[in-house]
């Protein structure tokens, strides 16, 4: 699907922690952990669980760099 977000990184779900309202998902992207906080509702409707392959999407305006 064409989307405006510039960064689309394929990865594998390592952990899923469900809170009352939000869910914290850690995705292994090329050996690095990327953490995503989404609503519990979304995590459940996408049925995200450890081992799933998915795409991490990040807008370019949200990416910080350090040197």
């Amino acid at each position: 699907m064409a989307i405006s977000a510039r960064n689309q990184l394929p990865g594998t779900v390592r952990t899923v922690v469900l809170g009352a309202v939000m869910a914290e998902i850690v995705v292994d992207v090329g050996g690095h952990d990327v953490v995503s906080v989404i609503t519990r509702h979304s995590a459940e409707s996408l049925d995200i669980k450890a081992g799933d392959e998915l795409t991490v999407v990040i807008k370019s305006t949200a990416v910080m760099l350090e040197k």
Partner: protein
């Protein structure tokens, strides 16, 4: 939420101008304050808000016309009479080093109330602000929030026709601010007084304002119903001051599963950050919005808000493009790169889908007020 359209203005300013050393510090073409309305003077520091407030209050001498309850305020005596029928609260409470009760009674005594009447009305004002238990305390034993409550009680005790508030919450912590906003708006509605509220804070203006005037270089550059003004800033500098956020108006509804939505008038529900039930305006920053060329497949994205629409405009914003999408009943702005716009083939009139996380939507409570 505001006073009825037929209400007679209590204070009217026409061509009011404050000039010092040949420099215009504040100028108003026309401003009318209605009973029951909270009129916010919004602007950056140094925009002339406080000077204008003083001119409206008769404290600062000004050229032009000021009318209070239908009569022109033209002489020093008339200005004094105006000040007796109004009251002011500032960022700092400016309390006298005497008891809380004596502080609140002081305004009444100055206005000629008898000792007994001052005592009675001061007690009622302390009650109204929930600080009757502090009546005997000295100001140096009060918290910042308590001291400001005393200052507000002192102003309300005189039952002013117009209440002037100059950054009344600026020195308070956010939880105290939130509680006080709700209480103050309730009190204003019961009293049907006209309120002028000066602030430099956009969110505060949205939370309290029935009408908003934006000031710049001492001049009101735009005035109108709060949401109209925010939705359509008339100058580039006002738009800069506000930021590029979209403003979504609706009702916060919390579902049994703890999810929070903003229900728009059209019935469309926008998933948002946690907030209490009730009327609200939500701000949505355009950098948090992504665009899809077409609707994403069901259960393929974690984004809780997916709104199909049509590209209304595309304009440069620095190195990025600001794309405004006319979605069902609401305009959503998205900041995207030029490369993304090209790849998606964005053009005005074309269909597109705007999508954003629930956590990108920040609701600000707008407290419903009814004149009793």
């Amino acid at each position: 939420m505001s006073a009825s359209a037929s209400a007679v203005p209590v204070l009217v300013a026409r061509d009011l101008e404050v000039v010092r050393a040949g420099r215009t510090l504040a100028h108003v073409d026309a401003l009318a304050l209605l009973p029951g309305d909270v009129h916010v003077l919004l602007g950056a520091n140094g925009a002339g808000k406080s000077t204008l407030l003083k001119a409206l209050n008769g404290v600062e001498e000004a050229h032009g016309t000021l009318e209070f309850e239908g009569r022109e305020v033209a002489t020093a005596a008339a200005r004094l009479a105006l000040r007796r029928r109004t009251a002011a609260v500032f960022q700092r409470p400016y309390l006298l080093a005497t008891s809380v009760h004596a502080n609140v009674a002081s305004g009444l005594r100055l206005r000629g109330a008898s000792r007994a009447e001052a005592r009675r009305r001061a007690a009622a004002a302390l009650d109204l602000l929930g600080i009757a238990h502090l009546a005997g305390r000295k100001p140096d034993r009060l918290s910042g929030g308590e001291a400001q409550r005393v200052s507000i009680a002192r102003a309300l005790a005189v039952d002013p026709a117009v209440l002037f508030l100059d950054e009344p919450l600026a020195a308070l912590d956010p939880p105290t601010r939130r509680v006080l906003v709700v209480e103050l708006l309730d009190i204003f509605a019961q009293r049907a007084m006209a309120v002028v509220w000066v602030t430099h804070d956009r969110d505060e203006a949205l939370a309290v304002g029935d009408r908003v005037s934006f000031l710049e270089n001492g001049r009101i550059v735009q005035t109108g119903a709060a949401l109209d003004v925010f939705a359509q800033p008339a100058s580039a500098s006002f738009a800069d001051f506000l930021g590029l956020d979209a403003y979504l108006e609706g009702e916060i509804v919390n579902a049994a599963d703890s999810s929070t939505v903003l229900r728009l008038a059209s019935g469309v529900e926008i998933a948002c950050r946690e907030a209490a039930d009730g009327p609200a305006v939500a701000c949505l920053p355009p950098e948090d919005v992504v665009l899809f060329a077409g609707p994403p497949a069901e259960h393929s994205t974690s984004l809780r808000n997916v709104l199909p629409g049509m590209v209304k405009s595309v304009s440069p914003s620095g190195r990025l493009l600001l794309v405004v999408v006319a979605a069902e009943c609401v305009d959503i702005a998205a900041l995207v790169t030029r490369a993304a716009a090209e790849e998606l083939g964005l053009e005005v009139g074309g269909s597109v889908v705007a999508a954003f996380k629930a956590s990108a939507v920040h609701p600000i409570a707008r407290h419903e007020r009814r004149l009793s």
